[in-house]
Symmetry: C2
Subunit: 456 residues, 2 copies
């Protein structure tokens, strides 16, 4: 098999299970939970081998468009970014991704991955992709079935059936999240965790979906065909997309198709569905304490601290999760951290902002015009990154030691601390959109290195 | 007795027992622990009956001078503020206060009070002051002995002896903080808590101190006699004061004098020596939870939350204290909150700033000069209060509807949100020091209501 896989990263979710770090304004997939990178970034890096994977497609909502582009730029990656004009659950999102993949290749094989999962053993994951690819190409919808590490009650299970090729088997049945005795029976019977990640021929997925809900597939296909280009993003046609019925891909396709297959995998997978899961996946000290951010522990055991700023000091406590953000602090028993729903419901009344917004990062969008032949000073910012999206004209952009010519609809990311200069070498005015993102956006955060107007 | 008492408020302490709220940069006495006012402010209000109490003396360190003046201004109070050029423990501080009181009245009766104690029954406290005054005037050093509410191990005790007048008795002996069985015996034997607050004739205190350490009393008296006036504060002479031996008033005087007396009092007193004490003194909900700042409790009991900003959410936890400030979060078992010393020692290494500074309030000192006949705009600030201290010349200050003429060495406090104007009606330049205090000191926090220079 020399065919390449098109990864489709599902990046539109907005849960509160990791509140207060995760909120509508900055959901879990964009958080650096285990180190410098987010799970979205790790997901992109996981499928970065160009011998096996094609340029990824990221499907997300309008609200996260710049976050996606910034996080891609931070890891020197790129993707086609599809914007959903409304939330319609995973079924329409995957169908739109499949229809988009077909515009690249009518025989496209798509690997649909959640952006907020953790995989600790990437080679094992990639090997499973290779194994699954055979049966995806044969017209199966291949799910990734994780070999259980314990009788988990937070995942659905897959009962494997007849063998297809290698380790890949038909799916005998999907079962819902079990109670503990049932989970124990499932594990003993060789059931696998349903990871919610899939591989399929795009046309197969759409055929199966069409058998269940042809109207939705038709309107989703139309939304893709009529997608606009806006600042370098692909914007699904809103009128068409909104007509699709909201449904999960499990209900729309997986539980009805006869083509479901499963590739077993042991790759240290987790959906990181709770703070308890974060603790389980984190490096810990000898007392079982994990910390993301600065924490000090005294006479404390099996605690999990996450802070995006304040120092967190624990004294004489066990089995707690403590999460500190600029505007909210959570202190919860680890075992309760599986379900913060009642707490978050109370908070929505007492302090609505802390369940939706994030204080720390500010964003500002400006329209710039540079006259023909003019150039801005060579400058640098300490507290903000910038995105430039060329709307009209031609730009010559200097970024540290590199110079790049840019045309309409192209965009470039300027990380914090990188010297940059914008010039218009053309004959017509250069128009661009500048998106500033950072902890501080004041006009005085500017270091002018060279300036034709003598402001250095 | 018609003689008035001169209160001497000891306001120089800098403990970390209520870390992270309390630190060197903003110690416990200045914190609003139980409502809008600090214990310092409540202490001042407690001795505000002019029929019984004279203008108070506050003794504090250089570092807290403006905090003292701001907090006095907030409650419309005033005091003579003595600045200690160095920390020398409570003995020299009380001796300096006594020597200063004598400059007002050679027969002065001084009531020395800690600024960081709580008294819930103010009439009972005032009644004890009246009772003690008789024996202070008779040459006794009267301590306030609190009737124990429980066999506390965190306080020293007083064994009362022979009766003097009314309820006032001689002190048979002072005893150190006991263990629990000893404390139980003390309570059964009628011992009283040593509150560390005293009343005495200033000359008596100095005589007794002199008997133990005449050199220190001499140099402290010299420091008072040579005190300077600086921006309206009394600055003890540094060379003289620094020669005084550092010693607590207990060791210097109380444990040696034969003139010690005790007035028993039940006034809901506490020295608020720990977060556990704060919780005990706070109003609680039906589940035993107390909160200063915004807190949300789910399935949690007997917890204490203090926040100066972030919302604090607790889920499934009992018997915890959670303190959230802008740069540090403490989570401690209530019973451990008595002693944060080891934790704070670790923090001094890991994050030294959070044990000393406070981020939230900024302070800036400026020198202003207004030419003869000129005036500034009528203005108002949203985020800062200001202190003006006249150094030279004459000022006409408008504060909302009032106008006040001010001379050299006078000062005025301009609270947040109050419109104000400064004019120089004189013939020489007006020079003043402006101390700005607030969460934001940017030049753009100014609302110009009327402006001769048309900047409104």
């Amino acid at each position: 098999m020399s065919k390449r896989i098109i990864p489709l990263i599902m990046c539109g979710g907005a849960g509160t299970r990791l509140w207060p770090s995760s909120r509508e304004g900055r959901p879990k997939q964009f958080l650096p939970l285990f180190g410098p990178r987010s799970t979205f970034q790790d997901t992109i890096l996981r499928i970065s081998d160009p011998a096996l994977f094609d340029r990824p497609i990221v499907i997300t909502s309008e609200a996260y468009r710049f976050m996606v582009r910034e996080q891609l730029a931070e890891i020197d990656s790129d993707a086609d970014i599809l914007l959903e004009p409304a939330r319609r659950d995973s079924g329409p999102a995957i169908a739109a991704g499949a229809a988009f993949a077909i515009t690249r290749d009518k025989d496209a094989i798509v690997l649909a991955l959640a952006a907020d999962h953790v995989v600790r053993d990437v080679p094992a994951f990639v090997a499973a992709c290779r194994a699954g690819l055979v049966e995806a190409d044969n017209g199966h919808i291949v799910t990734f079935g994780v070999t259980p590490e314990r009788p988990a009650v937070e995942y659905g299970y897959i009962s494997p059936g007849d063998a297809l090729s290698g380790d890949v088997k038909r799916v005998a049945k999907f079962v819902e999240k079990p109670d503990l005795p049932t989970a124990t029976r499932y594990v003993e019977a060789g059931y696998l965790w349903n990871s919610g990640n899939f591989m399929f021929r795009a046309s197969t997925l759409l055929d199966e979906y069409r058998g269940v809900d042809a109207d939705s597939v038709a309107t989703i296909s139309k939304a893709v065909a009529q997608a606009g280009r806006d600042l370098g993003f692909f914007t699904l046609d809103a009128d068409a997309f909104k007509q699709a019925r909201a449904i999960s891909v499990d209900y729309a396709v997986m539980e009805k198709t006869t083509r479901a297959a499963v590739v077993p995998v042991s790759c240290g997978w987790s959906d990181v569905g709770s703070w308890l899961a974060v603790w389980e996946l984190s490096n810990k000290d000898a007392d079982g304490n994990a910390a993301q951010g600065l924490a000090v522990f005294e006479d404390s055991r099996n605690c999990n601290v996450a802070s995006d700023g304040p120092v967190v000091a624990l004294e004489g406590v066990d089995d707690l999760v403590v999460v500190a953000t600029q505007d909210a602090v959570l202190v919860s028993r680890q075992k309760d951290a599986n379900n913060l729903k009642r707490l978050v419901a109370k908070l929505k009344v007492a302090a609505p902002g802390v369940t939706t917004d994030h204080l720390k990062t500010h964003r500002q969008v400006k329209r710039l015009v540079v006259k023909a032949g003019e150039r801005m000073s060579l400058q640098m910012h300490h507290h903000r990154s910038e995105h430039w999206i060329i709307v009209r004209g031609t730009a010559r952009v200097t970024l540290d030691d590199t110079i790049r010519m840019m045309q309409e609809n192209e965009s470039i990311y300027i990380p914090i601390g990188v010297s940059h200069r914008l010039e218009n070498p053309g004959k017509i005015p250069l128009e661009l959109i500048e998106v500033q993102t950072g902890s501080y956006l004041g006009e005085d955060d500017i270091v002018r290195i060279e300036d034709d107007y003598k402001r250095t």
